[in-house]
Symmetry: C2
Subunit: 229 residues, 2 copies
């Protein structure tokens, strides 16, 4: 049986680390908004049934007009909340009840691939929840606010989380209901599912699947894009 | 007073993760050996006085011939030891006694910049020891060998170590003598200096200062290089 795969792309952040006049998801990468590039990967991926963008309330009209919300796979654009978690929850509430798997993906991670999307989906079906990640290959140290090394951290078995994060719909719904009941605010959806005691599997992403949050990330992204052409 | 700055580039590893017939430092990046590209950054940097390559004993002759060991800033090529630490030690023993600051840099990190070299050198002069590093921006999780998440790690204050690592000559000598006396083998030179109880400062590197150890790193490196052109 083919499960319905729905994607939520939260892009309601203010991009405070960019220090530019425009939110990071709307900054241009190779002449197109970063969010548009991210969105297009999911729209083109055959295994994906629907995609829901979550943007700041003030931007819902403009984004709907520019990106064509409500046409084809792209669902009507949803207004975000105060925190990322609130935004994803708003997106989750908008999904139809026949959804089998929900993927959550950062709006500012445009180098995601079809293979990552499919592998995360398959792992979520098999295990209940899965996240794209890469192993830590660098030596890690804990550094004081003054910039002096204070000690090391064992990197054995450590992975850096990326997105998409993928979940069976019922598990993600339960995870959000519990987090809201408990007043818990996590950094990502995986942290909510872990609180249920549910297993989360890891699938291997890529170094190039970067999150664009700082000016130097955008410079690297332009390089990655230029090299792909 | 201008301190003499000497650089040691250990490139004596076998590149087991590359699974190619040639050691990773001699693999081609944009048509040139990775090691040659790394070396050239240091040879072109005016603040650097001397550069010493450490390669597998069997390669000393070929590397000397190809890269011109003993000409200009480039010192005679040194034979490496069994572990990275042994190779750096061999390089250290070959330096002249008037060396003020020693930089150690991975042979397979060709995207180091002049600014990183100068900042690491200045921080070593100021603090005794310094390392180029970047803050961890990703959520980290500990993952079981079976690929299931076991728990989180607080990323606050965590940095990923890169190279160059820079040291006042006397401190690095003492660090090596103590490690050898104790039979201690560390992952890098910083770990040896920490055992002395000496401070190690951090200076900010860049995401693009990658270490090329796996096939996917080489693919990313080719992209970075292509985009620079």
């Amino acid at each position: 049986m083919q499960m319905k795969v729905s994607v939520i792309i939260p892009a309601a952040g203010q991009g405070r680390r960019m220090a530019a006049g425009v939110s990071k998801q709307f900054m241009l990468l190779g002449g197109e908004p970063i969010l548009k590039r991210t969105l297009d990967v999911f729209l083109k991926e055959p295994s994906v049934s629907s995609v829901t963008l979550v943007v700041p309330e003030a931007d819902v009209g403009a984004v709907s007009e520019e990106f064509g919300g409500g046409r084809g796979k792209l669902q009507p654009v949803v207004a975000g909340g105060r925190e990322r978690q609130d935004s994803v929850y708003n997106g989750l509430l908008s999904l139809s009840a026949d959804t089998g798997v929900v993927l959550v993906h950062d709006g500012v991670r445009p180098f995601v691939t079809g293979a990552m999307i499919r592998e995360a989906t398959q792992a979520a079906i098999a295990h209940g929840a899965a996240v794209v990640a890469i192993p830590v290959n660098d030596t890690l140290k804990r550094v004081s606010p003054g910039g002096i090394i204070e000690g090391g951290v064992d990197r054995e078995g450590l992975w850096r989380m990326q997105t998409p994060q993928a979940f069976r719909y019922a598990i993600l719904r339960r995870a959000f209901e519990k987090a809201r009941a408990d007043g818990f605010c996590g950094t990502d959806e995986v942290s909510l599912v872990e609180r249920l005691g549910e297993k989360v599997a890891v699938v291997t992403g890529a170094e190039s699947n970067i999150k664009i949050t700082r000016p130097e990330d955008l410079a690297l992204a332009e390089m990655l894009l230029a090299a792909r052409r």
